[in-house]
Symmetry: C2
Subunit: 419 residues, 2 copies
Amino acid sequence: MPKNAFYAQSGGVTAVINASACGVIETARKHPDKIANVYAGRNGIIGALTEELIDTSQESDEAIAALRHTPSGAFGSCRYKLKGLEKNRAEYERLIEVFKAHDIGYFFYNGGGDSADTCHKVSQLSETLGFPIQAIHVPKTVDNDLPITDNCPGFGSVAKYIAVSSREASFDVRSMAKTSTKVFVIEVMGRHAGWIAAAGGLASDAETEIPIVILFPEVEFNQERFLSQVKAKVEEYEYCTIVVSEGTHWPDGRFLAEAGTRDAFGHAQLGGAAPVVANMIKDALGYKFHWAVADYLQRAARHLASKTDVEQAYAMGKAAVEFAVEGENAIMPAVIRTSNDPYKWEVGKAPLSEVANVEKMMPKEFITEDGFGITDACRQYLVPLIQGEDYPPYRNGMPDYVTLKNVAVPKKLNTAFEI
Amino acid sequence: MPKNAFYAQSGGVTAVINASACGVIETARKHPDKIANVYAGRNGIIGALTEELIDTSQESDEAIAALRHTPSGAFGSCRYKLKGLEKNRAEYERLIEVFKAHDIGYFFYNGGGDSADTCHKVSQLSETLGFPIQAIHVPKTVDNDLPITDNCPGFGSVAKYIAVSSREASFDVRSMAKTSTKVFVIEVMGRHAGWIAAAGGLASDAETEIPIVILFPEVEFNQERFLSQVKAKVEEYEYCTIVVSEGTHWPDGRFLAEAGTRDAFGHAQLGGAAPVVANMIKDALGYKFHWAVADYLQRAARHLASKTDVEQAYAMGKAAVEFAVEGENAIMPAVIRTSNDPYKWEVGKAPLSEVANVEKMMPKEFITEDGFGITDACRQYLVPLIQGEDYPPYRNGMPDYVTLKNVAVPKKLNTAFEI
């Protein structure tokens, strides 16, 4: 008898997490002998705990196919980490109660490092609590910090967005530099790892040279050296673009964004790293500046997704289901790079025991010795990930993103659960 | 005998001002009997004053064609306004000196309101200083505030970028709202007019409803009413997106961005309107927020240009040259809307005397009565301007934007001119 599958989106969403959802659901629909229906968690794992399940069989094939080109989390996501089994047995027992009630035998969890850990714990439920379930983690994170997989779905599209946006804004400031703006600062995501900041370096290449200074979270901020870099670039090129990671910090660990500013009412004001850097340059060097903070725009920019990223996101969802119907448990499909030039990749398989709680940092050899740029090795790694465009369809001038019906599965337990 | 033409880009650049340059140069190349060569000003009008002219004949047809898909100002722009003839006769005499030396009979000036005024003054030089020249203004401004023309090239692409980005980020925050971010704030350009902010309203439409609150520069900021709007939206939809114009101001005229913040060194810190609004919501309502400042990204985003905008930008450049070879002077080609549904437009002709120093504000009937949204009339005006996509070619994952050789025309005067 086929079992139902549970699928949930976890943590910060991306431009392509729905492409993974599309891969999961479309593939599950091809295996009715093994998977009866896919129930999605409304707002991620919370939906499992509160028995708020979404019946994806109520969505047409067209709607599911449209997930491939729709950014964000179509079923809702959440920031909610299950504690360890020993600390919060009640949550795992509740999961089992809900899964039993809805005949769920597969658990697909689409997220980053924390989610991999949760997924790993769920994969052990048959051992630890006697409930048979196959748990497969579907990798997703713009932070690109999951181990084993060469890269994480979601990252390639952010990388492309930041590279393209930095190039475009650099062309703009180059135009204006004679009498006006000389320095443009763009703040990007990445509190712990500089992957996204590194992607800003792709704005400049052999054919299109742009003076770029990158501030990585991996490199302690040195104001004097930074300012002299900027000065040198402006003197040589008349302008300069700065890509600053939100995680850029002083030697004592304080983020640049925590500048200790107060608003008119005396409230502490988090102003972002970009304005801090921009004002610092203005004060020391007198250059006129502009700054941007991309924030959600970067991770939601499905309009500029990397085709490679979309394909990999879909492939990870598809592979997760295929692994599940083959009887696998406690694994994560992974992107394995088999060749750099031409770029080739295939789907691999990572044991969750080796994924959970391991954070992949950017290799030191990806950052230039001066600490402000990316090396050729970094470029070789990044460039394949931004290849190809995969435009969404447009209707009336706007991208035609789908909003699902998200019909609730009738509750069978009707017992409340406090989260 | 054919004369040479002078072309210059002025003020803040856009995603499509080079499409106008493309229209000017390609069309001039079709009229060798009237126009010998197009000399571009290096960094705008400053290039004319300092005799730094760029020989566009050194650029291949392919390079000029690539201007159509390249953002920013390929020859450099400047923020430099010529004073009135009575106040600064020297500048006009210098222009004539340079134009005479280089046999220039046509003056194409690509800019906004200030530039139209300069262009108008140049168009009068034969009357005022006895120098025969035909001056045609090519409209350009993301501010969309030129009169007579239905809209300004550059605006449609910013509008599309802000509408699409606001929709994408709204999908993101909608996904996260259950346990995390409930409010997303995006700051957009437009210090005096709310055209760009209004475009944020297009993120929501009949098929894709999104709760959006817009803060216009035309509407005095009322904190209490604003917060109650946001609260109502979050209570109804669980989330809310706020589009705030950089020009949003308090009743006393102070911009929201001037929050009186000081950095650690006591320097006044310009932090943008978005973080001010976001922190205000956090303090009053406790909602978790994210904010973005699009800044140059919005006006440089050629990767997401409106096809309508690109076509109109090109058409304005083309028409400027055609008008010139027909003997016109002191005019500006304009976009004339002849039908809304289906949208149709044609090239019109505006006398510079009626363009210079006239600022077109957004009609009151484009803003909803509560002051936080756009009306159907506004939507009817805006929607045609974002129609169609016009993607640049990509090479190796990045848009293939052209950087011209910008070969200098040998100086004939070699006299210095202080600007």
